[in-house]
């Protein structure tokens, strides 16, 4: 096997990761795992972005940097989000000694 891995392969991987993440979000009740699953979906998106960026850069339509820049922004935002999200989770855990998302419905009207 020579040559670079084709874009299709990367997209299939990305879709698989996204699905795994989505199922995790839907099935898991622990807030931590839901969080992890969300991160997984986010990074599935990142992977697709990088893959497409490479393909279009090879075609000479854009520079490879442009897709990767977006990924960096997403990573930065995700990091910030994790910081805030984990903070909230810790606070919730301290209050009710559980991170079961189904038990958290106070915000409803």
């Amino acid at each position: 096997m020579t040559g670079p891995v084709p874009t299709e392969a990367w997209i299939v991987l990305s879709a698989a990761l996204f699905l795994i993440g989505a199922v995790g979000v839907l099935r898991r009740r622990s807030a931590i795992l839901v969080f992890l699953s969300v991160e997984l979906m986010l990074n599935a998106g990142n992977l697709a972005l990088v893959a497409f960026a490479r393909q279009w850069a090879d075609a000479g339509l854009i520079t490879a940097m442009s897709g990767q820049t977006v990924v960096f922004v997403v990573l930065a935002v995700a990091a910030a989000e994790v910081a805030v999200g984990l903070g909230i989770l810790v606070a919730i855990f301290r209050q009710r000694h559980s991170t079961d998302v189904d038990a958290l419905s106070e915000v409803r009207l």
Partner: protein, 645 residues
Amino acid sequence: MNDPAAWVALAPLLALAGALINGLAGRAMRAPRAGIVATAAVGAGFVLSLIALLALAGRDDRSVSVALWPYASVGGLDLSFGFLIDPLSVLMLTVVTGVGTLIHLFSIGYMRGDDGHARYFALLNLFVAAMTVLLLADGFVLLFVGWEGVGVASYLLIGFWYRTRANADAARKAFVMNRIGDAGFLMAMFLTAGAFGTLHIASVNEAAVGMAFGSATLGAIGVLLLIAAAGKSAQLPLQTWLPDAMAGPTPVSALIHAATMVTAGVYLIARTAPIFAMTPFASAVVAWIGAATALVAAIAAIAQTDVKKVLAYSTVSQLGFMFVAVGVGAYWVAIFHVFTHAFFKAALFLGAGSVIHALGGEQDLRRMGGLGAKMPITGLTALIATLAIAGVPLLSGFFSKDAILLHALTSTHLDGYGTTGLYGVLLLVAVLTAFYMFRWYHRVFAGRFRGDAKTFAAVHEAPATMTVPLVVLAAFSVGAGWLGLPAFAFPNVLQGWLEPATLGGLVSMPFDHPALWVEWLLLGVAVAAAGVGLGLGAWVYVARDGAPARRFGDGAVAAFARGGLGFDAAYRALFVGGAQGAADGVAVLDRDLVDRGLLGAGTALGTFGRAAAAIQTGRVRTYAATMFAALVILLLLLAWTGART
């Protein structure tokens, strides 16, 4: 204002000034002073009216306009205030202020000792001010100002002794009945403005003559004006307030509810004569309403036991005569009867007042009698007035009533509307009038006294302030008719004076004068009617000492007549009950249906909101699943549409 005839424009102002003085400073005024101020205010108006009368009599151009101020001018409709001084208004003014002065004078004695006498005189002056405005107005709107003004004054004076509930109720009834008439007046004005673009009476009259003869618009305006006139002049079906209005002090009944205000309806129709001259239909309605009212009221008058209510029903009946006169197109005749009626009816009411005063408030005919001997002046003046209203020849009522009968029979204006029937009804009423007036006089002044002896011993003739007006009014009850002698044989001053002012030379109202012997015959028939009525009275009350009357009086028929022929009861059941029911319904509906209904709409929205809120479980995973599902659906949609393009 160099024209002496125009000075009379100050009459309303004088009366208003009197009202303000007594109204604002009344409590500072001692007993006779308030009355003197009020009498002087009206007396000055009378002098001005006389000056105007003489000034107009001495020249050919008998119409003076006095512009007052611009009331409003909107959308091309000019509603400026102005006075019209012409033979019609000046004659009426002279009667109103003249009779008014005498009644003010009478009131000084009558109201002495009443703690509200300053208020009384203020209101009486207010009435005169409004009445003079009504008479002088040259436009419908200003006329309406006076029209409601007299209604307000009448309301306040009927309820003068407001502490008694019945008086306040009577006042309220009069006001509301008048308001019904006023609504008719307003609607008449709306149609008039729509049809002619003006509410200036002279312009409307001119424009009306330009319309097609018998046009529907004019007919509608005429009928609406009739509703207005019927309200103010207590004609069917709005007549029931006037007998109740007797709750007011007796001089008020004499001035407002006999001599002046109630004739305003007749005046209104005479003022708008060209409209009626162009619509025989509306005129016929006027005439037949008048005839029916005359008959109904005359029957009711026979059965009354209250000294004032006999006179009240008599007034309603006589107003019916006047309506017949305006209906058949004999406008000057109607005003002629207004003129003579003012004197003899005022004399009768003041006579009744003098009696009530002497008996310490007693008003029941069954406890009177034989007072003529004790009160010679009151008795004699009442006798003269009684004979005048009964139609005894050479007294004033004879001439004016005969003229109405003659014109009712010979009118060509109402051809096809049954003038012979009108004549027959009026002739019957003339008989009844003579009968009930004989009864009234006999029950009060002749025979023996039926009350207790102590009261009778205290009876005395009234003081001079009260007897002088009586004598003057009695004198005019005799002489007033000579101004309008039967035209076929004598010079008739009034016809030539009034006819140009009512019809304004715009239309002519020809009468087919019958042969001379027929006129004499009709005159004889009228005399005979009075004779029959008086003779019947003499038979019942003198020859048989009232026995037939007593037998009749206990029966159901008499009770029915005493109650005004059931109109009050019917109205109470139909309209008062109906209106109150409707109002109750509205009041309840407003709370229960409209309010709750709208609140219900709000509640329904709230329910929907809560149902919608149920989707919001608060479970993150549900939300995520929904989002995911929606995303999938969207993607599928996109893929599908993408595949199609």
